[in-house]
Amino acid sequence: MSLTDLLNIGRTALNVSQTQLAVTSNNIANAQTPGYCREEVILEVSSLTGKNGGILVGQGVSISTIKRHYDALLQGQLTLSQQDYGRSYSLSQTLSGVEQLFNEAQNLGLALPLTEFFNAWQDVAYNPEGLTERNLLMQKADTLVSAIQRIEEGLTELLKNIEKGLADSVDQINSLADQIARVNGQIMQVEGGSSTLSANSLRDQRDALLKELSNLVDLTSWEDGGNGSLNVAIGMRTLVSGTSTNTLTAAGNLEGQTSLILDGQDITSRISKGEVGGLLAARQESNDTALLGLRKFTGALSNAVNVQHAQGFGLDGSTGNLFFNALELSLKDDSSGADMTAVITDSSLLTLDEYTVRFNGGNYFVYNKANGDLKVSGAYEPLGTTINLEGMQWVISGAVTSADTFEISPLTTAVSNFGTALNSIQQIAASGTLAGVPGDNSNALLLAGLVSQNLAPLEASTLTEYYQTLVAEIGLKSQAASETLEFSENFLNNLSDRRDSISGVSLDEEAANLIRFQQAYQAAARLIRTADEMFEALMSM
């Protein structure tokens, strides 16, 4: 045991205190940094021992590790709940946009224009030859048309924004993937496979990136135990592996919708969480509920009015006129070499369903697109097969394979093509007979009565009932989405609080530590001074 040992002990104490002060300073500095994990210096007794006449004396203090306060389980939960939050956030945002388009609470929907249109028919019924009433009817019809088209435009705009949101998210996901891969590389370099060395700040950075990525998309991640790098997969395809990444790409599919391709595979259907999952769900809801519902409502309205109107007679004696533009069939040809034509033969038989035609073993099969029910089937004749179904006639010719499909819909253009078709108000068919012109109002009465008539294409409900159901369905979905958002936000906040409780910096704690470590430093300095004084005493002997 020599005096130098004393100086050495003092030096280790001084070093340790200095490091502690440095870590404390870093904690204070990063108190506001998102994702930062509080660090703490863990001390141990220095292993080197000196001998003092056969008695072992401690050789000072050394740093065992700088501990990062981190709970891996909690971090995993946070990642998951961030995905749920991301989904419910974008779903709720989009659905409340859809809801706003049908906002009956603020009289923005169709209820008012619809009843006014049918009330105008009652006014025509009161004065069938009155030009004022007829003009008013046309005006109300135009208002109804533009109200319906405004909603469809709103919905298409919303759907466009969803596609844009998806494209933006894809860019962000790729950028985050690149950053994670880069940080992976740095961590691998710093830690060098060591189990004790931990690149704390880089891991904090990577966790923050992962959290951001989780908000966007549902992912699975696991750490490579060998080198500390993090692998990330989306939809069972690898996004980040070590320092390499696969690029997520957005491609337009047949329906004109964005699908997501990763590592050569379409993973769209596998994504249900994160903002991307929310956008995909919102896209489906908007298409299947709101847009289809609106089109079916419009199709049923215009077809029912047309069928009844064509039976009446105008002031000019004309009959068979359509009040609104006739419904049109739209075809989606997904075949290699076959052709198809489709026309409406009897409007009154239309069920306003959408159909899919498939082929197999020399036969054709027509399915209801919405529920998959087989409607009709028969032998396919490549020279020309005529199918008569529910007021339509389809003719398909050419060679077909089992991969070929046709889709037929009377609804696709139901709203965009919706508009009044009469050339003049004279043609408004209020009269039930030619002889009854001009005072007969029987057809006008029947038309006015359509509003409370059960319509077969609307599952035998009335126009207003169907519309009410539609509004309720949209409202309920939006309500459910915003409730889920509230729940997942609370859950996420709760988890964040728990994470902060473990990993967060407490300034009071750090202030106390600051004094503690300062005092320890002063004590160590005092020790060195004592040793120095002892040296001096020795020298001056």
Binding site: E129, G436, Q468, V471, A472, A511
Partner: protein, 365 residues
């Protein structure tokens, strides 16, 4: 639990966010007076309210229809009242004028009076309401009756059209009366309905048979009148045939008979003419009954409309109350809630400003 610096800040931020959101909702309720600002606030409430509004709007239309129907029926009633009084005065002169001892001056007087009544009836038959001929059935742009100078007839230009208005869901009310019709089931205002032939004996022993002859071609029912005398069968002097289809033709027949001539101006003997006049007493009575009947039907329709309107108004009142219950914010409640939120917000701000401003660093020197 270890409290870190972030925690109270985050909690404060969340608390402020929640309270401000609540404040926005409440002040929006104050501003609009409505509880519901979007469907998802209360889905069943919105849908119910939507249903109420649709029913209300329907009711308003029905009430408007009822008002119009009542106005048209009122107007028709006024016209028919005049028809009744005109027919009454006609019956009086027929009673007075079927006397064989009439002087030529008397006859001319009666003939002229009948002609005046005839023209008055024609005027009443061609009454318009809002530029529409109300007794023309569906042919509302045509006068109901015009004089056909060639055939000496008052021909009906209308049809049997029954103009109906919806007065409730699935319930309609007819608002017009056709002047004439070939269909005996339709109440006509200017011709009477005879379902089976009718025979009467006049004072001089002549037998008069009235036979209804519906003529779908012209859309009217003629009453064929045959006068014979059982003591003089086959004697042209005692036989007479003529027909009429509406009040104007009846009056015209009378007017001509007082001038001892037929409709086309051919001369009739005085006895023939007087028999004609006497034979018209029965149709006249029938006509008056017919008008009374139509007026009774009109009154019944009126009553029905009034009941319907009362029902609709009561229904609308209930709907309005339900709608208000569903949609309208309770102002007192909203204001109290608003104050509570304001107090909470204030407390949150004050307490947090005191707690968060302090840290151990403040006490180190």
């Amino acid at each position: 639990m270890r409290v870190t610096s972030f925690l109270p800040y985050n909690q404060l931020a969340r608390g402020l966010k929640d309270q401000l959101a609540e404040l926005t909702i409440l002040s929006n309720q104050m501003a609009t007076g409505k509880k519901i600002s979007k469907t998802s606030d209360d889905v069943s409430g919105t849908v119910d309210a939507l249903g109420y509004r649709l029913s209300l709007s329907g009711n308003e239309q029905y009430e408007r229809n009822i008002t119009r129907a009542s106005t048209v029926l009122d107007f028709t009633e006024t016209t028919l009242e005049q028809v009744a009084s005109v027919l009454d005065s006609l019956r009086e002169i027929v009673l007075d004028g079927s006397d064989s001892s009439l002087s030529e001056a008397d006859r001319t007087y009666y003939a002229e009076k009948a002609a005046l009544i005839r023209d008055h009836l024609l005027e009443l038959g061609n009454t318009t309401f809002e530029d529409r001929y109300i007794f023309s059935g569906f042919q509302t742009d045509q006068p109901a009756y015009v004089y056909d100078a060639v055939n000496h007839r008052y021909s009906y230009q209308g049809d049997s059209g029954q103009l109906q208005l919806a007065v409730d869901r699935g319930l309609t009310q007819t608002i017009n009366f056709a002047g004439s019709s070939a269909d005996p089931s339709i109440s006509t205002a200017f011709s009477y309905t005879l379902n089976t032939p009718q025979t009467v004996t006049l004072a001089d022993g002549s037998t008069v048979t009235y036979t209804p002859l519906p003529d779908p071609g012209s859309g009217v029912t003629f009453i064929e009148v045959d006068i014979t005398h059982p003591d003089h069968p086959g004697d042209p002097e005692y036989e007479d045939h003529f027909h009429f289809s509406n009040f104007m033709e009846m009056t015209d027949l009378l007017s001509q008979a007082w001038q001892y001539q037929d409709l086309d101006g051919t001369a009739l003997s005085s006895s023939e003419s007087l028999r004609r006049i006497s034979a018209m007493a029965v149709p006249l009575e029938k006509s008056e009954d017919q008008v009374t009947l139509v007026r009774a039907e009109l009154a019944a329709r009126h009553l029905q409309l009034e009941n319907q309107e009362e029902g609709l108004q009561a229904n609308s009142e209930t709907l309005k109350n339900a709608l208000s219950e569903m949609e309208d914010a309770d102002m007192a409640e909203t204001i109290i809630a608003l104050q509570q939120v304001a107090v909470t917000l204030e407390a949150l701000r004050m307490s947090s400003s005191r707690i968060l401003s302090q840290s151990l660093f403040d006490f180190l020197s």
